[in-house]
Each structure stands twice: as C-alpha cells, then as structure tokens.
Subunit: 344 residues, 2 copies
Amino acid sequence: MRLEKMMNNTPVTLKFLAEKLKMSVSTVSKALNNYPTINEYTKQRVQEMARDLHFTPNKSAINLKEKKSHIIGIILPNLLDHFFTRSIYGVEQFATQNGYNVIISQSHDDLEKEIQSANMLLRSRVDGLIVAISKHTQDFAHLDQFENMGIPVVYYTRNPSFNLSCHKVLGNTFQGCYQATKFLIDRRHKKIAYLGGPKMINFTHDRFNGYINALKDNQIPFSSELVAYTDFDKENTISAIKNLFANPENMPTALVAFKEPILFDAIKYLRSINHPNFDKIECIGFGNTSFISYLDSPPIASIEENPESVGENAIKLLIQLINKEIDIQHYQKIMVDCKLIVHG
Amino acid sequence: MRLEKMMNNTPVTLKFLAEKLKMSVSTVSKALNNYPTINEYTKQRVQEMARDLHFTPNKSAINLKEKKSHIIGIILPNLLDHFFTRSIYGVEQFATQNGYNVIISQSHDDLEKEIQSANMLLRSRVDGLIVAISKHTQDFAHLDQFENMGIPVVYYTRNPSFNLSCHKVLGNTFQGCYQATKFLIDRRHKKIAYLGGPKMINFTHDRFNGYINALKDNQIPFSSELVAYTDFDKENTISAIKNLFANPENMPTALVAFKEPILFDAIKYLRSINHPNFDKIECIGFGNTSFISYLDSPPIASIEENPESVGENAIKLLIQLINKEIDIQHYQKIMVDCKLIVHG
DNA sequence: AACTACATTTCAAACGTTTGAAATAATTGC
DNA sequence: GCAATTATTTCAAACGTTTGAAATGTAGTT
C-alpha cells in the first residue's frame, strides 16, 4: 500500500543528479530551469531523472542565492476573530499564485509578542510584511526595521492612527457606518443610538463620524445621550447599554453597534429586562457573522466589511512593492468599501 | 519620530562586521554564538557592533548550513472552523518556544490544493508536518514523501481511517459522545436521537459507537429510527431531522449531534415547525461554540473537544520526532479526552 | 585544412553562515 | 630563556543553488 521507503541518507541534490547523469551541476541546474542553451535531449534526460529520484530543490539554497525568501509575513492580533481569518483567504490565495508562502503570527494583542513576531519574521528575511497592529502598539521601531532593510510593510485594518507615513489598506468604516445609519433613518427612525468600541482602536472615530454625518445630512438632531462606548467586555457593554436606554424622554428605537458580538450582548440584555418596545428596536452591527441566522432576535442588517477583499488588496499592494512596481517611499492608502447586508 | 532610514545598500553580514572590526568572519560568528574559546572582550566588541549595526543573521544561510529550516508546516482544511484555529494556538505557542516558525496552509478540503500545499512545504524543507487531511484524501503519496525524506508527519484529528501506520493525535470522540449520551440518560431520557456527520469523515463512526455503547451499558434499547446522518448542508440536515421525528410512536426527547452548527440548524427547524414538546427536548453537540450564550434555546450542554490540547500534543510529539527522541518508525497514537460542558 | 559561427557544456565564484583543524599568540613552569 | 601549555584567532571547506564567462564540440564555408 505504502511506497517502500528509501530512507536514502544521501539527499537528492543537483550534485547527486549530476553524478548519476555524468554531467556537470550547472548543466543539470540549467536543464531543470529550462535554459534555452541546453540541448533538448539533455533536458529530457535530466528532467526524467529528477522525477524518478524525487528531486526537490532546496529552498534555503535558492533563497540564499537569490536573496529572497519567497515568504510573506503576516502579524495579526488573533485568529479567533473571523475578520482576520477571512482576510487571510484573500492573502493566501493571491500569495500562492505568485509563488509566495505565508507565515502567520498572532500577537494576541500583546505588544511584547508582536515585537517577538516581528523579529522572528525579520530573521526569516520575509520579502514583505502585512500587519494589523495590536491594541497597544504606540512605538513602531520593531516594524520600521523592515523598511530600513528595504522590506515593504503594508498595514491593514488596524494601523497607526496618527498620520505616520506608511502603506495602508483599510475598510471604509466611515462609509459602512454612514450607510447603516442612513438605512435606519430611511426606516423612519429618529432616535438612533450608537454603541462604539474601544477608543484606542483608531477606526472607532471613523465609525462615529459616519454615524454623525448621516444624522447631519438628514437633519436628525444629534444627542450625546444616544452615544456610548464599550470595550469587548460584557459587563462594560451592559452598563453602556443601560446608559443609552436610561432616559425615558429620549428612548432609542434603533442601534448601530461597533461589532456584532457586542451587539448580541446588547440585544440579549434588552431582551432579558423585557424592554417594552424590544420588538420595535432595530439594530445593525459590523461583522455579518454567520451565526446570525440562529438568533431569535437577529439584527435587521449587518455591515459586511469584506475582509477577503481587504486581505487581497493588501497582498496585491505588497507584491507590487516587492517587485518595485511602486516605490516604497510613495505611500499608498487603499479603502475597501463596506456593504450593508439586510437580513431576512 | 521615525528612525532615519539608512537604506544602506550593503547588507549587514558577518563579513561586513568582520571588516569593520578587522577580524575574521569566524571570530565574529563564534563571538555572536558565545563560543567559550572566544575572548570576553572580543565578544563584547562584536556584540556591541552587531547591535549598533542591526545585524540580523540570515536564516536562509543558517538553514542551508544546518540542513534545518526551523519551520513546521501545518496543513488543515479551513481556518474558518474554530476547532482548527483553536488548535493552532496550542501548536504555535509550543513551536515558538522551541525556535520553530509555523507555516499554515489551508486545503479548503480540496485534494488538489492539499497536494500543492504539501509540495510547497516539502520544497521549503519543513522540519516536520502536522496535517488534518481533506475529506477527499484517499491516496497518501504526497504526504508519504515527507517520511521518505525523513521528515516526520503527525496526523491530527482528521486522519487516515484504515490502519495506515502513522503518528496520530486524536480527540477521544468516542468518549465524548459516550459521556454526552450518558448525561442524557441520567436525566431520564429513553428516546435519545443521534444525528451523525458525513460518513466519509472517519470519526463519525467513533462517535456513533460512543452513543451506542452508552445506550447498551445503561440498558436503553437501540432504535435505528433514532439515527440519521447529514453532511454540513442545511437542507440535508433538515431532512435528516424530519426522519428522526417522523414516527409519533418513537418520538425523541433528546438529541446528540455531530457538530454544533448542525445542531443549531436542527433546533431552529424544530422550533420553526412548533414541535409540541420542543421545550422538553434536550440537545448536545460537539463544539462548545462561544455563540451559544446568545441562543434563545441553547443546547443543554456541549462536548468540548479541547482543540488547544490536541494541537499541543501534536506539536510536542512532532518535536520529539524531529529531535529523534522517538523513532520515526515507532508510530504513536495519542488520544485527547473531551469534556462535557453543561450550560446555564 | 583552416576558419568562422554557432550550439552546448563546464568552470568558478558567489550567496551568508558554521565548525573542526590549523595557526598564532600569550602564559606558565623550570 | 626556552619548551610546554593554554588561550585565542584564523583557515578552509561545506551546505545546494545560480549564472556569466570560458571552454569545448560540431557544422558549415571557403
């Protein structure tokens, strides 16, 4: 059933093939790489022998010679977040097509771990880096190292908020939030609450601005009572929700939330306290989680952030930078639009 | 703010350091690797210079020399499945601690893609491979290549069902299902249905056996009417559920399901048809998804498969094999127990 | 037969590191 | 002051590949 093992302790290298074929190493190399100066018949013989002996070129040697690793590094906070896993789809596919491997490294939103990952990837001489920074990254020395060595870096999603010159690929989170708010306004809501995320994450503000601008553009008065913030902690979310629904004079009939798990906590809470108009409240959050179909009180719509597309744009930009089709100093910024998905 | 770029086109290598310091390359190398034969003061000078010039050893060169890549490959079907992403936690952590990088490659349950991934990892000369095979893998030539070259392979979770001799790390899915069934029996259920997964996946049968054995050990009669199978398709699940609940004489009061998303589909369906005893039916599925807390009719318990532990066991075994602490031909099988998590 | 022109193969250096053996320098004992 | 140790540094080969330049081989032309 199983191929008998050779356990051949002499590894099959170019040299080994050359000896077997009684020709020079360079002929073998060139034959395998289909050089035009090599005789057709020779090529055939070499290729056949290579196949029979299961020759596999040694990547380390090639990398050393070519000064390329054919590896792209990704640093991201967390693989449990579907946004990131979905974004990897986009990256991986395009990378593979272009002959690159991908090393994924999780920072677990820990700066120390992020630095470690960066150093490890630097030692591995990745040809390029895609990174979504941790919540706590303020200093960028560990990432600047790459550009200092001429290795391009693309920041995606989570990126330095202050205007550090760097390549960025971002979800158009402003537009997403604007669209969601507009959708609720069109459904005749006047009291639309906004539940924001951690203030340290830079796009929290973009989302808020989307909300505000939609209100403004449609002459809906803004009320600060209708805005609250939470981190990802459940307790925290519940107390934010309590605040939003505290004033009977100013009771929200709709809610836009920073992220779906937070929204689910909010919905669950409102339901648990038997909020009088619970059935009327319409909610929208960022994410478009697949589990929504199992909820009994699902959000009316989701803001789909198209993570695959974000990933794809990041890798495409990175490869252009690697190939020097774009100058590394000519910083790019790409925005990927969100899409409102109406459920039911 | 940002470090001024050197954009130094001469890369900082051992040779470069050696010239700067006016000593030989080998002294520099040995100083950096803390050889006892090197003078303390020399070491200091070298290390200082290395730090100042941001020397980063070239991994490709080291790998070539050492005939090691310090890379471990993982092939798995899918990163969207939380079982796999969670298992990576275990792998990554232990791998990093031991100086290995991890390249993750998704097969998307496609044999062709799996073969491609395997070949790519082979070219990269990974030091070891951890693999959860695709649904369609029948032939193992692409994976046997590794062992033929002396590279150890550990199959985890999804593995060749027939008794191919190989290293395996598996969830003890029999025990998990037994325990779940026993739990329901203890709650006085007599009619416990079993909703199985795709028959091609090998542990489908182990789970079924856990179910059957729990019934047998507790003198509950088995009825084939109470067993149905589904793949991951929703239509398919619903028709399976219809069959299970078809006979009014033999109506289940409890359900054990192969995987939680399937179970959620089942619950949703039963609810949608207003099944008369819906509130009484108690369900358990494999997975322990975090979303359970948002469901209105949650399963009474979940079978936690401890994916982190599965991953950790796989990497530990692999590293032992790499270090030849275990003979590669001495095939190991490790079972990781499941744990029943009772909700509410 | 000698020359050119081309086809094909081989040489040799390079990529950046490691490491045992050899060389050199410094220290000790007498 | 000189051999014998010991401490420290350097040499040189190796890992497996690529690639421009040089060498060789083969025809074709005169």
